[in-house]
Symmetry: C2
């Protein structure tokens, strides 16, 4: 039994204990269902009137802990439907479940521990001594429709957290508190990075000047890093006739999930990915082997019709801006290109201090060697590509795992998973080989010997989606972004009225120097000004008083290094370009 | 009678002359209609079989010139429908026209000159001596459906050019030849700037690396110029719920012309303009008079459902990228903001050498002073805004024209019209005040006295639509773009095999220096390499032979200034940053 399975049994056992406590405290409450969750358990009850509120949780938890020592094992027995129906004759929820189980011809089981019996499929700890009374607690109460259907009655759901030990419970609670503090929606609002409008719709963020500066800083950084490797930016429209996706094969697979765009004459669809458009730029000219690799990059927005209920801040949106690139190359060039993309990934995540041992891992998805016929692109190409990718991973000394059978039918891929400050793992960068799409679009190049060949296509993203990436790094840095990414890099703080004029000069000089700067023009005290700026997590504060005006300098306060003393504006600019 | 009216009469008279010539050369041809056009005239005929082709035009033109001296005046007479029907009993087209005129109760008139009579509303020269036989010629033949309806029969349309003098005719023909040479679709293809794909659809250009570099250069230039004036970039999605346009009022006016986007849960529309989205960023925070003006800029693509038949290269597209900005300010701030926008316009078009006396003019659209009740926004605001705008135009010493009654109901505006190299005029930049939209969205700021006020909104575009702007400047420069805008700024040309290595070093140094560069790696002769690069109209060629390798320099050939001698790479970079 693995530890996940053990935890699941522990948590489900606690759901029984919760129901037992509720039956003692609220004898008329009707228990319904009570499963384990990823962090604990819940149980849904129909309290009729008089449902408990969160202030009652302590009392309920106390009752659970009182009952626990009186329990020993969970004793199951199979019963006839009639017997179960008799037992639950006053509980329409359990009756509904019993009738369903009976209709399927499945066994109906009751589990008893102490004096409490529940209709249940099983899955409990072997002995209640395995339940650590310090390892669980009730966390909160919410409404939940019976069976998740909003046409049904709203029940009261009581949630609990559960771990093996108190230490684990405390660690989880601390992480959760920290996650709430770092919630990108909260920080995004406080730092004024993005907003939503009900008139525009859910999942469609609007980026304010500060959020837009961060988007641009990310795109600029990636462009700068890849400029070493011969990328060109291109531009494509956000819509297309569906014929493009009928050719690429996406129509058949994803047609229903695409946003349809109705024009007066023609039906279009919004692009949910960029690769088919980019093939059409490749196809606009005759290509020779001398032209390859061709590397098209573009940070452009795709639209996906996500369900409203799945939308969440910037993590899950309908307007997804990808830092996308598509490379067209010969089979021989795959290794060199993948290596260069990896260098860009390494440099980009190093600039975020996230590319470090233990901080990320790589998944290499390969074909299922037992079923080579499932894959497109020829045995040779696959063999050589897989060996090239494996060698790269080995030589780069990466924490990587090969997963045979995980590749798409059109090619193997690398996925990069980075850990954030709370230890949560996020798949961000990706490099995917594609032996299929170039052929579907009839892409060609003329080889050295004059013959026509089909290029290989490489899809790659460094940040992934800008929106999702921002949600991850806002929470990772809790708003204290690295200098190059900070929405405001420098704030100029004149101490008093008489320092304002010089402060304005400093401000416009550093703005002209290309830094993202603000000038504090408020009438607050210096202490208040500094506290405000620290809340905003601005990397540098330039404080200006008499001494600075006199010396034609600024006093530099670094967020990360403390006071750096006086510097001339030009020196500050030079050091922080 | 103004000169337009005179030309129209001349041209329509020539249509009669053309029909007379056709009746002599093709007695069975049925004349239908023959109007004046903006550059001459045409006449549509049903030739049954045996229609003339373009090689017959000379013979037809000769016949016109033979007939002309025998004509004198166009003598009109009103006839009964019966008489007209008898005359045209074999011509179903004229019969259809006669029946229509009769049904409307309008007079039926026949005009005779020499021995030729035509059913005609009139509008001819007073005497055929006013027709200069050297001032016209037949230009081409095309098919045209009777009455423009594709369900009708295809007729043969013969086109002619017509001007007062031979000189004017020749000048027009020369301009037309030049326009064909400069056609942005032709140059765009030759210089490889953009492409279309049938799989994606008409009116949806894809920009190649070179075209994308030009788009970016334009946006960067505008961003750099306006950075002096406190603009911030923002980012908005390309779709919205229709509620946004119901609030802005666009839904009622333009609802039918918008692209509807169907999601599984919600209907969206593609944005045909950006202002309503930008108001929602303004509205996302409390604003104080101290925060104003707020200036949001964004080069973003709007989508408009243009009819397929109206689409033309980049001039008329469905994906329109606007270099848009929206400013929110107090009424007092209008003058200062408009002045600063004008500075940006002046600097931008100066960088294109288009902002010069005689090269552009400005239209100032004002309210109709007789109907102040037609306009939104209050009499004071209009009066002061109009006087501010008029003063600005006066003081800037602009070639401007005030057009009372031309303003929209929501505010006055400036439009900038620039002349291209062929003397054609294009409306490009615009500055529009808006006293309406901020109120519709309930935008507010807290004034000095604590009261809530509605800001004024200014819409402005410098280039207008990037696509249309590109179509204009590609034709204006015939591909020989100013250095800052050229898709390839520098090409490195090694003379022989032994210079390639040094050339590569030069190439990567100037690429790293941020210039858009190419390296000629072909095996062509130097002469051929230079000719190729000149066809591509690249501003600088860096030629590298023995002497340059030895001196660690490059020989600079300027497109506009000829040979500039040897320079070190660093000097070249410094001079051309």
């Amino acid at each position: 039994m693995n530890s996940d399975e053990k935890l699941r049994k522990l948590r489900h056992s606690l759901a029984h204990l919760l129901a037992a406590a509720i039956k003692e405290l609220y004898p008329t409450a009707l228990p319904t269902i009570g499963p384990a969750t990823a962090t604990g358990f819940y149980y849904d009850f129909d309290f009729g009137g008089g449902a408990p509120s969160e202030k009652d949780l302590a009392r309920i938890e106390k009752k659970m802990k009182e009952i626990l020592p009186s329990w020993n094992t969970f004793d199951g027995k199979e019963v006839e439907a009639e017997e179960a129906r008799e037992l639950y004759k006053d509980n329409p929820y359990k009756l509904e479940l019993i009738n369903e189980i009976a209709a399927k011809g499945e066994p109906i089981t009751l589990y008893t521990s102490g004096s409490f019996t529940d209709l249940c499929r099983g899955g409990h700890v072997e002995n209640t001594r395995l339940i650590n009374p310090e390892g669980f607690e009730l966390s909160h109460i919410a409404g939940a429709y019976w069976r998740g259907n909003e046409k049904n009655k709203m029940l009261t759901r009581i949630y609990g957290l559960s771990f093996d030990t108190k230490e684990e419970l405390d660690a989880f609670k601390k992480m959760q508190e920290e996650a709430i503090k770092r919630d990108h929606r909260k920080i995004g609002k406080e730092m004024n990075l993005f907003t939503f409008s009900e008139l525009i719709g859910s999942g469609l963020p609007l980026f304010t000047p500060k959020g837009t500066a961060m988007r641009q800083a990310i795109v600029d950084k990636i462009n700068a890093l890849q400029s070493e490797y011969g990328y060109s930016n291109v531009w494509i429209p956000h819509i297309t006739k569906k014929e493009l996706y009928m050719t690429s094969g996406h129509w058949e697979k994803f047609g229903e999930e695409l946003f349809k765009v109705q024009g007066r004459e023609t039906e279009f669809v919004m692009k949910p990915m960029n690769c088919p458009h980019h093939t059409q730029i490749y196809a606009s000219e005759q290509r020779s082997y001398k032209d390859l690799p061709i590397r098209y990059a573009e940070a452009t927005t795709v639209y996906r019709d996500e369900q409203g209920g799945e939308l969440l801040g910037l993590s899950r949106v309908r307007s997804i801006t990808q830092d996308d690139a598509h490379l067209f190359c010969t089979a021989d060039q795959i290794g060199g290109e993948v290596k260069n993309i990896m260098k860009v990934i390494a440099q980009f995540y190093t600039a975020l201090d996230m590319y470090k041992p233990g901080g990320f891992r790589v998944r290499l998805s390969l074909r299922d060697p037992a079923q080579p016929e499932k894959y497109l692109g020829g045995d040779d190409v696959w063999k050589s590509a897989e060996s090239v990718l494996t060698n790269i991973a080995e030589n780069a000394n990466l924490d990587y795992e090969s997963i045979p059978g995980d590749a798409a039918f059109y090619g193997p891929k690398f996925d990069f998973l980075f850990k954030d400050a709370l230890g949560r793992e996020w798949q961000l960068a990706t490099i995917q080989l594609d032996f299929n799409m170039p052929a579907r679009f009839g892409l060609e190049y003329t080889d050295r010997d004059g013959s026509k060949k089909t290029p290989v296509m490489i899809h790659r993203a460094i940040a992934g989606s800008l929106e999702r990436f921002l949600s991850v790094i806002i929470e990772h840095f809790a708003g204290a972004f690295p200098y190059w990414l900070a929405p405001v890099q420098v704030k100029v703080l004149p101490i008093g009225e008489s320092h304002r004029e010089y402060a304005k000069k400093v401000y416009s000089t550093i703005k002209r120097g290309g830094l993202r700067a603000e000038l504090d023009q408020s009438d607050e005290s210096l202490g208040k000004k500094i506290r405000n700026a620290k809340t905003e997590k601005i990397p540098y504060l330039l404080v200006i008083g008499d001494k600075e005006v006199e010396a034609d300098k600024v006093a530099v306060e670094s967020r990360d290094q403390g006071s750096l003393g006086q510097q001339s504006i030009q020196d500050f600019l030079k050091l922080n370009k």
